[in-house]
Every structure is written in C-alpha cells, then in structure tokens.
C-alpha cells in the first residue's frame, strides 16, 4: 500500500493531503517536506485525511514534529479522518494538540 501525499503552502496555510499508509517507510518523506517549511510564516497546517487508511507512531511523530519544528503557536487541523485513524490519534493523546473536524472551510 503506497502513501501518496501532496503538500501545498499558500497564504500562511500549509495543506497536506494524505492517503494510503503513513508508516515508518513513508513518514520520512513527509517529514522531509515539512522540514522545508521551517522558518516560513505559517499560521495553520491542515491535514486532509479522508483517504488515509493507516497511521503508525512514525506518522504521528511527523504530526507532532510539525508543531515542534514549525512553531508551537501554529494551529493543526485533522480533517475527515476515518474512525480507525482517529482511534490511533486519540490513543496517543495528540488530539490535544490539534483540532479534529469533518470538513474544512477556507
């Protein structure tokens, strides 16, 4: 199962669209892309997770890392995540650092 992700930065908002598996093999590529944003003026990072089927601790670490590295004041959003993915997010306690929503309005 391949993860394809896309990442877009515009008007202080980073949009990351996730699909497939975000696991130990695939998370590093996303972390690399997020590292490129360090130092930019960012208010929000929005993860679109409707098509994300599986996330492991390696994937969760990228989300935690994005807040740690880009700025502790930025807002994180997780949009449209499936029940299984949300379970893992809640188990790990990182629902505390993000807003979980069904849809995202500009």
């Amino acid at each position: 199962m391949e993860t394809n992700f896309s990442i877009n930065y515009e008007n202080k908002v980073v949009k990351v669209t996730l699909s497939g598996s975000l696991d130990a093999k695939r998370a590093p590529a996303l972390a690399d892309e997020i590292k490129k944003l360090i130092g930019k003026d960012i208010e929000k990072i929005v993860f679109f997770a409707k098509d994300l089927e599986y996330i492991s601790s390696a994937g969760l670490r990228v989300i935690i890392f994005s807040k740690q590295k880009i700025g502790i004041d930025i807002k994180l959003y997780m949009v449209g995540a499936t029940e299984g993915v949300l379970d893992v997010i809640k188990m790990s306690g990182i629902d505390n650092i993000m807003e979980i929503t069904d849809t995202y309005e500009e």
Binding site: Y54, S57, A58, I64, Q68, I97
Partner: protein, 136 residues
C-alpha cells in the same frame, strides 16, 4: 501456522507488514483490528530493523497462528541480536505539551494499548516477542 523469515532491513518492511496483514485478515479480524495489529507489529519490526544488528546483517522471523479455541491470534517476532526487551521501556507522558513530549516512547506506548497480552523471552541467542490479540 504461517512463518516468514528474511533479512531485517527496510527493503523488506512492506513484505513483513503485508504478511502480518494477510495473516490477521485470514484469522478473521475486521479492518480496524487488523490495523491495530499492524500498528503494534510495525513498532517491533522497526525496533529490530534499527537496533537488533548494529554492526552486522541479521534476520527477522515472524510466526502467526490462532490459539487453540480460535478466540485469538499470536504473533511471534524473533531476532538474533543482543538481548533486548522493547516493552521494558518506560511509558511516555502523553499529556505533556507537544514541545516537551519525548518522541521515542510513543510507539511502545501504542503497542501496550492495542495488544491484549505480550511476552518477551530470551531463548538461546534469540529475542522472542509474543503479541496476543483477541478476535473481539
């Protein structure tokens, strides 16, 4: 019982994970539980790949089978590295603010959360980690 053995490296990661997924599906777990089993096994597999063989190549073996009455499923993950029990690590403080959180322990914390029973044994020169999950 199903069994797979191969060199413990990232190139084999997908094959190891696919093996566990297929075996867990065959045992009758629904998609959500299959993913929890994958989550736990991924942590252990990554631990073996990254740490079991610091200065040589080595193998990882995974054995899966259902228990006698069919109510659950065992996964044994075996390596031949130095004695190491990943589950002996302390739990992370999941309520710590994001900027203070210790990142490394999260995976093992999740293994403890999603798996019903686990057991570590050192047998000869092998580490054997056994995970058990009830079907429901």
């Amino acid at each position: 019982m199903a069994d797979i053995i191969m060199p413990a490296n990232m190139e084999n990661f997908d094959r190891l994970m696919d093996f566990i997924q297929v075996e867990a599906e065959n045992a009758g777990f629904d998609k959500k539980l299959v993913n929890k089993i994958r989550l736990a096994c991924e942590e252990i597999i990554i631990n073996v790949i990254n740490y079991a063989y610091p200065d040589k190549e080595g193998d990882i073996e995974i054995k899966c089978n259902s228990n006698k009455d069919g109510s659950g499923f065992f996964i044994k993950i075996i390596d031949w590295g130095a004695p190491f029990n990943p589950l002996a690590k302390p739990e992370p403080d999941i309520n710590a603010p994001a900027d203070e959180r210790e990142i490394g322990g999260l995976g093992i914390f999740l293994v403890r959360k999603v798996i019903d029973k686990f057991d570590y044994t050192r047998e000869g020169n092998s580490n054997i980690l056994t995970l058990f999950k009830y079907l429901s």
